[in-house]
Amino acid sequence: MNGAHDLGGMHGFGPVIVEPDEPVFHAAWERQAFGLTLAMGAWRRWNLDMSRWAREQMPPATYLSTSYYEHWLFGLVRLLGEHGLASPEELAQVQRGEPTRSHGPAKVQDGALRPEGVPAMLGNRRAARMDDPVPPKFRVGQAVRARNLHPQGHTRLPRYVRGRRGMIAIDHGVFLFPDAHAAGQGKQPQHVYSVRFAAQELWGPDASARDSVYVDLWDDYLEAIL
């Protein structure tokens, strides 16, 4: 989706402001939004690409005017509704900021993340890498072009490289394909490469002749230059 999240190359946002001695979280609600997102992810009803896709569907003007954990909150609420873990009435109540009327301590369901399960969950060693023996479509050193694709759904092909020429710098091996994974269409394993784009190819003659941008791209995002 050509959304507001795809920020590379935009102008007008001003300088980078660094907060000295920045805390990890700035408020209790940020801790809650972070914790709830990870804890609900542990149910494995959705995957990481679906989470990213849910956040990307925030309306563009809202996305640009809200903070990071508000994006997470938006994504979580959307996923809860889509996967039937909360009813539209319950989520409307959340949007109004009305807490549920508690009937005493709730029984935590089997399958919910427990504190003793947290180290194993955060110690995860395997996420998107696949063992499938898929041959690479491109080789290191090969000239390629990022395809000019504008999918309506989730993609990790940033707008600023589409149609641009680059060179395969590193073959990282086989990974699941996020465009399919976010849409619940399986893993479609394929190679991921770091593709080197010269700064002048991306940004024109005023860019440094020396500099470059390396972007991690999948086989399906690339075409050979003949």
Partner: protein, 219 residues
């Protein structure tokens, strides 16, 4: 497995915010998150103790001190540095610095002629096991938009001016590879023990927006 993070002194245990008294009016987003937590807890879908454990991990256990330890070791031990550059994932795993958002790692070495800078233009991908959770500026529109089109300007925002003959390589973390920059070792640090070297390694130097600190002159 992970070193205590001394970079910040806000060690709130649990998710209650002592800085926010209960009688102060709550903002819209505070109300919505509170309502969501109450809904999911009442449904038995989340255990509040697990939320505390998740938050505590990144507030007190996993942070940029992990990465600094790795960098110091690479500066002190050339064989370790080579292993790190050849197989970052395996070498970091041996130190226990592996896990969520760091399953597949690459280490990028800054030299006199090449300066690496890491960004995630599409969201906020960041190597959690070695750096903890990203700072706000890393996730914000100014950095994500400009790092790829004007990396030297971004570096100037951080007070870093690179000579024109240094090549800048920007790495956009669009896939599940996560990048750690190995900053240049400062001069006048020969023979310095690893723990003192680690104190010179800033978070920003491992993202590529800063340089390692220069040691203070001996008094």
């Amino acid at each position: 497995m992970s070193e205590h993070d001394h970079d910040h002194d806000h060690h709130h245990h649990g998710i209650d915010d002592p800085a926010h008294p209960h009688n102060a009016p709550m903002t819209d987003v505070q109300l919505r998150v509170r309502a969501l937590q109450s809904l999911l807890t009442d449904k038995g879908l989340v255990d509040p103790a697990a939320l505390d454990a998740l938050v505590d991990t990144y507030e007190t256990k996993v942070g940029p001190r992990n990465g600094a330890q790795v960098v110091a070791k690479a500066w002190a031990d050339p064989a370790f540095k080579q292993r790190l550059l050849d197989d970052a994932t395996g070498t970091l795993a041996d130190l226990g610095f592996i896990g969520r958002q760091g399953e597949d790692m690459m280490v990028l070495e800054n030299t006199a002629s090449v300066h690496n800078l890491v960004v995630c233009t599409l969201c906020s991908c960041y190597p959690w096991p070695v750096l903890g959770l990203p700072p706000v500026w890393y996730k914000s529109a100014p950095y994500r938009s400009r790092a790829v089109i004007d990396p030297r300007g971004v570096l100037r925002d951080f007070g870093v001016e690179l000579p024109d003959d240094v090549e800048v390589r920007v790495w956009d973390s669009t896939a599940e590879l996560r990048y750690l920059v190995l900053p240049r070792r400062p001069d006048a640090t020969d023979g310095m023990p690893e723990d003192e070297l680690a104190a010179l390694v800033t978070r920003d130097s491992m993202i590529g927006t800063g340089l390692a600190r220069v040691p203070e002159a001996p008094r």
